[in-house]
């Protein structure tokens, strides 16, 4: 069976504009949540998000190129470039049909949508800009990445809310494993920080308001949790078939060896325990590891009561006695909930944790919750060798994706 390894990582997110600064920030337990600066949030009851600080697109792209790039495509391109650069790969033209791209996004070109509709409905414009459709379509990021880096192989976009990137990377993993492709750039991207999107999430009543200090707003698994905080950004992972990577002497970050996916088939927002548990078991089974082999779980860990309680139950259900030994953390406490990109941002953190043997903490953990009584690696990073780690994504809509990474041997 073909093995799939990780040879490149790119992150462009609130906690860092490259993989190294991103992971350093997580290890320091630093939150990137702040008062929203992309627009004036004064009318909102929730005025905080994990934004990419001081982002000016013209620092990265020529003006002509930007005309056709919504922010979510910009982030995907920037993360992809780092993933490819860090891999040191020099693509030959004949390899391009076996090189593909999968990105996940929940919302697509949300900022373009928002400003277009504002012009149409509020300012009574009679026309909408002709680049609106090519910018907002969910596959725009995948297509732009393919065009930029000459990927001519399998390419698609997944849109499964908060599991989008998990499914994207899992699909890419299987495309290589089952001999459809040799190299895949896979990940997720999201730029959802708009007035309309914040209003919509606000009304679901799952957002933390962060009154006082925004950096303390997201407190997953802590009894004083207040809810989730929206984030933005992208992460892209370069996956490569083992022999292909060996031949070019690639630096190997780890092996992707399990992907579990399932549907709760029960409720449009409320997660079940059975659905996520099946996805975790499926990932373990594909990787042929037992629950006791898992040293670290990067939790979905949104910081809503429902998620924290359900995810804790899922872990107890699958891992039994080992549930009390496995280290669990929610890095969303720092980089926010990056929606359709979050599975990729968190997998990047998971891969780097396995590669470097250090677990990023759950930040802002203050008070034990009797219903969430496992080891959530509170506030302090923990150095420890990691053999196997999983990254959970449990989405609105009940569509679950679990990815399993192991130290390469």
């Amino acid at each position: 069976m073909r093995r799939v390894i990780i040879t490149g990582i790119g992150v462009f997110a609130s906690s860092g504009k490259n993989a190294k600064s991103f992971f350093t920030s997580l290890l320091e337990g630093r939150s990137a949540v702040r008062r929203i600066q992309q627009f004036d949030p004064a009318q909102l009851s929730v005025q905080i998000a994990a934004e990419i600080p001081d982002y000016n697109p013209l620092d990265y792209f020529p003006a002509k190129r930007l005309d056709l790039l919504d922010r979510f495509s910009q982030y995907a391109l920037l993360a992809s470039k780092e993933a490819l650069d860090s891999s040191g790969i020099q693509l030959r033209d004949e390899e391009r049909p076996r090189f593909g791209v999968v990105t996940g996004t929940g919302m697509g070109g949300a900022t373009t949508f928002d400003s277009g509709y504002y012009n149409l409905y509020a300012k009574h414009a009679t026309r909408v800009h002709p680049f609106t459709i090519p910018k907002i379509m969910h596959n725009a990021a995948t297509s732009q990445v393919c065009m930029e880096f000459g990927a001519e192989g399998p390419a698609l976009t997944t849109a499964t809310a908060c599991s989008s990137a998990g499914h994207a990377i899992g699909e890419a993993f299987h495309l290589i494993k089952y001999d459809i492709a040799d190299m895949m750039l896979a990940g997720g991207t999201e730029a959802p920080i708009t007035f309309g999107m914040l209003r919509s999430w606000e009304s679901v009543r799952v957002l933390a308001t962060g009154n006082g200090d925004p950096s303390k707003a997201c407190r997953p698994f802590s009894a004083d949790r207040e809810g989730l905080v929206m984030g933005e950004g992208a992460a892209m992972i370069l996956l490569e078939e083992l022999e292909h990577a060996k031949q070019r002497g690639a630096r190997i970050y780890g092996e992707l060896s399990g992907f579990g996916l399932s549907s709760d088939a029960s409720h449009i927002t409320q997660p079940s325990i059975d659905g996520p548990a099946r996805a975790v078991r499926m990932a373990l089974a594909e990787a042929k590891v037992s629950p006791e082999d898992v040293d670290y779980i990067n939790a979905h860990g949104t910081g809503t009561r429902v998620n924290d309680f359900t995810e804790t139950q899922v872990i107890k259900e699958v891992f039994k006695d080992h549930a009390r030994k496995v280290a669990i953390s929610s890095t969303k406490s720092m980089h926010g909930h990056v929606m359709g990109a979050t599975g990729a941002v968190e997998l990047a953190a998971t891969i780097l944790a396995v590669d470097q043997g250090v677990i990023p903490p759950t930040a802002n953990y203050t008070t034990p919750d009797p219903e969430c009584d496992l080891d959530y690696v509170p506030n302090q990073a923990r150095e420890t060798p990691l053999r196997v780690a999983i990254s959970n994504s449990f989405a609105f809509g009940g569509l679950n994706a679990v990815l399993l990474v192991r130290r390469f041997e």
């Binding site: 003006a63 002509k64 005309d67 056709l68 026309r127 800009h129 002709p130 680049f131």
Partner: protein, 96 residues
């Protein structure tokens, strides 16, 4: 109003080109304007001149001079049916 100067200014702005690079004789091909760029320029012209340019007229705009001529006639409210006839049978601007 100098329609030519305004058209050249808009094309330069939308294509991120220097105005000095564009003359009445420039063709869209020479300026690297593809079908999607063309639709964008039409949008900018419609916004600027506060008018609608019918698809059938738009299809004939393949050079700066054609844009200026067509636009002038639309602005003057002249009959553009000959332009429409010319375009008949041709496909619509090529965005799939």
């Amino acid at each position: 109003m100098d329609v030519s100067a305004k058209v050249i200014e808009i094309i330069a702005r939308e294509q991120h080109l220097d105005v000095s690079k564009i003359t009445l004789n420039s063709t869209f091909a020479e300026l690297g304007i593809d079908s999607l760029d063309g639709v964008n320029i039409l949008f900018a012209l419609e916004e600027e001149f506060k008018l609608d340019i019918p698809d059938t007229v738009a299809q004939n705009m393949k050079s700066v001079r054609q844009v200026v001529d067509s636009l002038t006639r639309v602005l003057e409210g002249k009959d553009v049916s000959d332009l429409v006839a010319m375009a008949k049978g041709e496909s619509s601007p090529g965005v799939s």
